[in-house]
């Protein structure tokens, strides 16, 4: 599904990714861990298509197609979704209107008709229930005055609505208490299937107790320096990142 080969990327002339190799197949969950400043968020931003991030070397293939020249919305139309570490507040646009616009613009981009209002409404209700979101929440301005937990739940709600093929969850656990994390993780697990893939970016191992990865990769100075199974995350938690740094 996603095939990254020797990927180098820079922002404002500064190289942040220095040769990433990553291969993700449908149905897999990959966790990317690493210390602060190792390039975790950059990698997710580059995959999602931020125009300030320039791919200078290597290739980024999604479903066999080079997507490095596509805009973020075009990548979204192909099924790539990024859950933000810091979701943006948009006063004056309700959650419902926002998700309707996102869905219909995505459908337009895919050459489909707009989703009928009643189908949309039913789907919104169903997915809101999955994430324990009450209907009052849906008529509030997007992320404005939301708690950390509400923001993250709202991100996963959008993921549930848009049904991406590749979802990247950037530090979804940051700012969440254990109950909120359970709700969010439960939502993500319900959306897992054999056809989609998930990249979980996290600093700590605790989220991986709930969203269990098939592979764990450790990022350091813009490169993947170690890969393994879920036990690698536990080892990291015990030994800390210095262990990896020394091992290099």
């Amino acid at each position: 599904m996603l095939s990254i080969d020797n990927l180098h990327a820079q922002v404002e002339g500064k190289g942040i990714l220095n040769g990433i190799n990553l291969d993700i197949k449908p149905g897999e969950v990959h966790a990317i861990m690493g210390p602060n400043g190792s390039g975790k968020s950059t990698l997710s931003t580059v995959i999602a298509g931020h125009e300030d991030y320039e791919v200078t070397k290597g290739s980024l293939l999604y479903q066999g197609v080079d997507i490095s020249d596509l805009s973020a919305d075009e990548r979204a139309h192909l099924g790539i979704f990024l859950s933000f570490q810091y979701p943006v507040e948009i006063p004056g646009v309700t959650v419902t209107n926002f998700i309707k616009t996102a869905i219909n613009e995505t459908r337009k981009g895919q050459g489909l008709e707009e989703m009928p209002a009643n189908v949309m409404l039913k789907k919104i209700k169903e997915k809101a229930k999955l994430l324990s979101i009450d209907t009052q929440f849906l008529s509030r301005s997007l992320n404005e005055g939301f708690s950390g937990g509400e923001k993250k739940r709202n991100e996963i709600f959008q993921m549930a609505m848009l049904e991406p093929k590749l979802a990247i969850l950037d530090e979804t656990d940051s700012g969440l208490d254990i109950d909120a994390m359970r709700v969010v993780a439960n939502g993500v697990n319900t959306l897992r299937n054999d056809e989609n893939a998930i990249i979980v970016i996290t600093h700590y191992q605790r989220l991986l107790d709930y969203i269990v990865p098939d592979f764990v990769h450790v990022l350091h100075e813009g490169k993947i320096v170690k890969s393994g199974g879920k036990e690698l995350a536990i080892e990291l938690e015990e030994k800390g990142y210095d262990w990896i740094k020394q091992a290099i």
């Binding site: 298509g49 979204a76 209107n97 926002f98 616009t101 996102a102």
Partner: protein, 438 residues
């Protein structure tokens, strides 16, 4: 002969044929003298520093339209609000159009100023109110006082809530080259009454037109006036709009100005408090591009205690457009416990757009709350990226953020049909279709 000389000469020519009362004749001759002495404002004047008039005053405008062109409903229908029942006072090239209008004299007067000026039964009202709040020293206003013979006349008696909004629309057809229009509107709302008014100036061709409109509004004790200005004219049209509002105790005057189109727009919006416990609200959205210029000059004159004023103007400037905002708040020594709030937020969508924004507070009382703020920024790049990752293309994402930015100004629009129209105009201006209204 320059435009100023031409206007003075034209004034001389018209006086011989007019049917003005003695008082009116005196008012007009004093006004033309004021204009003759002052001439058009220039950039050396603080009030006009960022608003060059050179191009306008070099145009050879015609003051008296010679030709008449009939318009059909089809020509103008799209500029008139239809999805709400309204009174309409409509003018074409400065001349009243009875076929497009819907006026009334039942329990109130919603009609033409020319009728009010000429009929004896209106003499008292005219004597009391005409030119009573307008700034007679302002040269554009003086020019209008000298020439203004036609416009809307609205007189609401006491304790009347006018159910239907009133639309005041001035069309210009372009059959007369470079027409200069000088409409004059007079609105008198007696105690405890309420009225909603929508004003629009619309050119129907690509011929240059300059409108110098003066509106006087009197809001008596406990009266409420809800006024909407829709400025979405063609790019050859220019507008100088001076609105003067007289407010009595417990009155609330509210003016929304939506400036989307036109080559040059100058809004002078003045509120004068004549008693205590008054509310003045002015809100605006400016959304321009190309080489358009929009200037908002507001003045709130707090002269008595316990009153409030709220100003909120949002500006979005693209291309090489220019914006000016000057918000003057005067709080006299007597006006203790005044609460004055002013906010002007701007987004520059291009490197070549300009905004000059200036709060101007003159406070002589010591127990007051006055807050003001202005910001100039760009659309948030992170927010744009966020929307794009949700499948919303850049153009639509920019539009959505622009909507979000302007949203709280629209929240106070009380006529749903106006709100819907403004939504449509914004979407059209931004070249998008969004599946929802704010």
């Amino acid at each position: 002969m320059d435009l100023q000389e031409k206007l003075v000469a034209s004034y001389m020519a018209q006086t011989s044929t007019s049917e003005d009362s003695k008082r009116m004749a005196k008012l007009r001759s004093t006004a033309i003298e004021t204009f003759e002495q002052q001439g058009f404002p220039n950039k050396k004047m603080e009030e006009w520093k960022y608003t060059p008039l050179n191009k306008l005053v070099k145009t050879d405008y015609t003051v008296f339209p010679k030709k008449i062109k009939n318009v059909t409903l089809t020509d103008v229908q799209r500029f008139i609000l239809h999805d709400v029942d309204t009174y309409k006072i409509v003018f074409v090239d400065g001349v009243y159009s009875s076929f497009l209008s819907e006026t009334t004299h039942e329990g109130m007067d919603v009609c033409l100023l020319s009728a009010a000026l000429s009929q004896p039964k209106f003499r008292k009202v005219i004597e009391q109110y005409f030119d009573a709040v307008a700034d007679s020293e302002d040269s554009f206003t003086a020019l209008n006082t000298a020439f203004g013979r036609e416009g809307a006349f609205v007189h609401i008696p006491k304790k009347k809530r006018v159910e239907k909004p009133i639309q005041i629309i001035h069309f210009s057809t372009g059959v007369n080259q470079n027409l200069m229009l000088q409409p004059r509107n007079l609105v008198v709302v007696e105690a405890q009454s309420e009225v909603q008014i929508i004003e629009r100036h619309q050119s129907l061709s690509d011929t240059a037109v300059l409108t110098n409109v003066v509106t006087e509004i009197f809001t008596h004790k406990g009266a409420q006036v809800d006024y909407y200005k829709i400025q979405n004219d063609r790019e050859e049209a220019s507008l100088v709009d001076s609105t003067y509002i007289h407010q009595e105790k417990h009155s609330h005057a509210k003016v929304h100005t939506f400036s989307f189109g036109g080559q040059f727009i100058r809004n002078n919006l003045h509120f004068y408090h004549k008693d205590q416990a008054i509310q003045s609200t002015m809100k605006g959205i400016t959304l321009v591009e190309g080489k358009q210029l929009v200037d908002h000059h507001t003045l709130v004159h707090h002269a008595h205690p316990n009153s409030e004023s709220h100003q909120e103007y949002k500006g979005i400037y693209d291309g090489q457009s220019t914006g000016v905002f000057n918000g003057k708040i005067v709080v006299e020594q007597e006006a203790q416990k005044t609460n004055a709030f002013q906010q002007n937020n701007n987004i520059l969508m291009s490197d070549k757009a300009t905004i000059n924004t200036k709060p101007q507070l003159e406070i002589f009382a010591d127990d007051v709350r006055c807050s003001h703020g202005c910001t100039i920024g760009q659309l948030d790049e992170t927010a744009l990226f966020y929307l794009q990752t949700r499948g919303i293309p850049k153009k639509e994402a920019r539009a959505l953020l622009t909507y979000a930015f302007a949203n709280n100004v629209l929240a106070s629009v009380n006529i749903p049909a106006v709100k819907a129209r403004i939504n449509t105009l914004i979407a059209k201006k931004l070249g998008v279709h969004l599946g929802f209204n704010l």
